[in-house]
């Protein structure tokens, strides 16, 4: 019996897909079903699982630590995805211009993404120590406020006088004329230097002593350590998305920009009417990958909580909650509870991605 060409093709496709289907079946489907079953039991890895119905899910809802983890995961995901997408887009737009040495800058801006999360977390710990760079920088900035204020006043004074003088002589200079501004800046700096030397102005004695990591203090509803992780993660993930967006920008036909230039379109119109609509499939990819990646934040929580000494309530996320319950230090595994939390995380990820697909950036470019 001879197979039809289409059946043969399907058979080949199946054959080639087999390894992938096997791993998908074993490591995803089977694992997922097992987790689902365990989430309705009190399984502890050793005793046979005992059916407890929805008890694990009810316990989750009543566990303040889980609710904190849920809040942190959602807020973190929303903030980081927004920040990283916007900044990666800005960077990609900048690096897509025909500038001298743009290849060098593309390489330079890509570098942060090759740093491992462990190394990045270590850097974060150094930066945010009480005697670290962030506190020292803030101390320096606040201590220098008298100089900055004086410099600003002198600059405004000199610039104002200069503009007035020129206007009286009949030249209509704008208030912030660049040529004059350089002269005013130089004179203002000189003035500050002289007044400092004379001793009329002194730096303030400011010592910023904020414990950024070992604290439960919050800013805009989120704890400081989580903000530190947000900053760090945004910084290290921007480059990867920048490269993806850059590839998308390269795919937009140049003729469209040329036509827009002939019609005299402003840069804003070009961005909103040509670049962004044609970049939508790539933006969809970036936002979706961003949401999935951020909802699964784990490594930094481990490092900042361990070596950084941050309290668990300040950094915990859903992924860490799951891990912490499967392997609680010094206690018996709570696999049932962890499975329930893992399923909540999976469901949440799916829901967020579907919602963003429905109300956020769509994947179709020309719709």
């Amino acid at each position: 019996m001879r197979l039809k060409a289409s059946s043969l093709e399907a058979l080949y496709a199946l054959l080639l897909l087999l390894p992938f289907l096997f791993t998908l079946g074993v490591f995803f489907l089977y694992a997922f079903l097992r987790a689902m079953v365990f989430s309705f039991t009190d399984y502890n890895l050793f005793d046979p699982p005992r059916w407890v119905g929805l008890a694990n899910y009810l316990r989750l809802v009543q566990d303040p630590l889980f609710l904190t983890a849920l809040k942190h995961s959602l807020a973190y995901s929303l903030i980081v995805t927004t920040l990283q997408t916007l900044l990666a887009l800005l960077l990609a737009l900048a690096l897509n211009r025909p500038l001298r040495g743009v290849t060098f800058f593309r390489t330079l801006y890509y570098l942060p993404s090759v740093v491992s999360t462990a190394a990045a977390s270590l850097l974060l710990l150094w930066l945010f120590q009480r005697t670290g760079v962030v506190n020292q920088g803030l101390s320096f900035l606040l201590g220098s406020l008298p100089f900055l204020a004086l410099g600003f006043v002198l600059f405004a004074l000199v610039q104002g006088l200069g503009v007035a003088w020129w206007r009286r002589r009949g030249r209509a200079l704008p208030l912030l004329d660049p040529g004059l501004a350089w002269v005013s800046l130089a004179l203002a700096l000189l003035g500050v230097y002289v007044l400092v030397q004379v001793g009329w102005v002194r730096p303030w004695e400011v010592r910023v002593d904020i414990p950024w990591l070992t604290t439960r203090t919050t800013f805009l509803g989120l704890p400081y350590p989580l903000w530190a992780i947000i900053l760090m993660n945004t910084y290290t993930t921007i480059p990867t998305f920048m490269v993806i967006l850059l590839a998308g920008l390269k795919g937009i036909p140049k003729t469209l920009y040329e036509a827009a230039a002939l019609d005299g379109a402003s840069p804003w119109v070009v961005l909103t009417r040509i670049t962004l609509p044609l970049l939508r499939p790539v933006l969809f990819l970036v936002v979706t990958l961003g949401l999935i990646g951020t909802l699964q934040l784990f490594d930094q929580v481990l490092f900042v909580g361990g070596a950084g000494g941050a309290p668990l309530e300040s950094t915990i996320t859903l992924a860490y909650y799951v891990y912490g319950n499967v392997f609680p230090p010094g206690a018996s595994p709570r696999v049932g509870l962890a499975s329930a939390a893992a399923l909540v995380l999976a469901g949440l990820t799916l829901a967020v991605v579907l919602l963003q697909r429905r109300f956020g950036v769509g994947e179709r470019g020309w719709s």
């Binding site: 502890n44 890895l45 050793f46 005793d47 710990l125 150094w126 120590q129 009480r130 005697t131 414990p211 990591l213 070992t214 604290t215 439960r216 203090t217 361990g306 070596a307 950084g308 000494g309 309290p311 668990l312 309530e313 392997f327 609680p328 230090p329 010094g330 206690a331 018996s332 595994p333």
Partner: protein, 410 residues
């Protein structure tokens, strides 16, 4: 040709007659120690009994690996059990009781508080292989430079604090002690006051004794005798000590290996933790690890023999002489090794004696199967007060509430 075949068959027959016993522990520096011990002591003893030991050290998270392996039925015959999670593991029934394999005399040869640590519901589930306690390690050069007398075993909290403050004042860039917000260190001082982690009902009460230790410990930074470890960029007191950022460390004998690598020429001395000025007692933790037997092992008899060989007097003498760990046999207290005039021998002697009456109120580093969940509220209270974010009252109130929820006190 025939002769070769015969030899090969004999070798195969011998190999098949041998009983294999798989053993596992954590990797890292332990790998060299156990391999050496097997090669030079244990395997020689076992060769006569036709037992072959297969050693599988585990790099990475050992606890996760062991729990998984025991659950999946692939765990080795013998494995390490740390006192911190021993109770949770013994409660699963996957570890075999050892009472049938060890006589009363054999068990009595080990330090009683270590044996007690691995006794669960009246049955013995592990033979302690070695242990550690906390000691006070001081940098002689820094104390000399600051012209402050060395800490000694009659020091109380107050006299030690005075010395630390003098060092910190005179040397400016050196902390007296670098303080960690960790019950694994602070707990020893709380024990000195007579406070116990659990009362008869299994509840934790942060009473006046606990509060006294807590106020003294957290106040060290404010009073200029210590600095917070995280502020010095370190996570443990040994890190500060090795980098000469602090004059004193509170650690166990594990610090010796670290200092050997990090600061081989550092002149240090060791003494006991200071005494509570009110009770005139000190406190300490016992950190210990046992060899335990897999309940599902097919070679329990052979594994028990391997266990005996691994903890035999010869094996422990071998480990002790290399300065690798503090063995768990009572008889080794009189060992000449401890009297050697070296800094490491002194450290090991003080750590060994820390588990005896000289250690004062000594408790195992174990919290009724609650583990890290139990320590977390206390650690957070320590951090909040040391960094000045909360008052002692507020921090202790919150810690007590969290512990009450955990232990079901309310």
């Amino acid at each position: 040709m025939k002769r070769w075949l015969l030899l090969a068959l004999t070798a195969l027959g011998l190999a098949m007659a041998q009983t294999q016993v798989r053993i596992s522990g954590w990797g890292g520096p332990d790998t060299a120690v156990v391999s050496g011990l097997l090669k030079e002591v244990v395997q020689r003893q076992l060769d006569r009994e036709n037992i072959r030991v297969v050693y599988e050290p585990i790099e990475g998270d050992y606890t996760q690996w062991l729990f998984n392996a025991l659950s999946a039925g692939t765990a080795p015959d013998l494995f390490y059990v740390d006192i911190f999670w021993a109770e949770s593991l013994f409660a699963t029934g996957r570890v075999a009781p050892l009472d049938a394999y060890f006589s009363r005399e054999e068990v009595q040869a080990f330090l009683p508080n270590l044996v007690q640590a691995f006794t669960y519901r009246g049955r013995l589930y592990g033979i302690p292989k070695d242990f550690n306690t906390l000691a006070l390690i001081y940098n002689k050069d820094l104390f000399d430079e600051a012209q402050v007398p060395y800490p000694h075993q009659q020091d109380t909290w107050d006299s030690l604090e005075g010395k630390l403050r003098q060092v910190q004042t005179r040397l400016k860039d050196v902390a007296g002690l670098c303080l960690v917000a960790d019950f694994a260190r602070f707990g020893a001082f709380a024990f000195a006051t007579g406070w116990k982690p659990f009362d008869a009902q299994g509840h934790t009460v942060l009473d006046q004794n606990f509060r006294r230790a807590f106020e003294w410990y957290t106040g060290l930074v404010r009073r200029g005798a210590a600095r917070f470890a995280q502020d010095l960029g370190e996570g443990w007191t040994g890190g500060c000590f090795g980098g000469e950022k602090a004059a004193v460390a509170i650690e166990g004998a594990w610090i010796a290996g670290f200092l050997r690598d990090k600061a081989p020429n550092l002149r240090y001395g060791t003494t006991f933790l200071p005494l509570d000025p009110m009770t005139k007692r000190r406190g300490n933790f016992v950190f210990t690890v046992s060899w335990s037997l897999n309940a599902a092992s097919k070679n329990k008899e052979a594994a028990a023999r391997v266990l005996k060989a691994l903890t035999s007097p010869q094996a422990q003498q071998w480990v002790l002489e290399r300065g690798l760990a503090i063995p768990s046999r009572k008889a080794l207290a009189q060992n000449p090794y401890f009297q050697r005039p070296t800094k490491e021998a002194e450290l090991n002697r003080v750590v060994f004696l820390g588990s005896t009456a000289q250690g004062g109120n000594v408790y195992p580093f174990s919290f009724r199967g609650l583990g890290g969940d139990w320590m977390r509220p206390i650690n957070e209270a320590l951090a909040a007060v040391i960094t000045g974010q909360k008052s002692v009252d507020q921090a202790l109130r919150e810690a007590q509430a969290a512990l009450d929820r955990l232990t079901g006190r309310r």
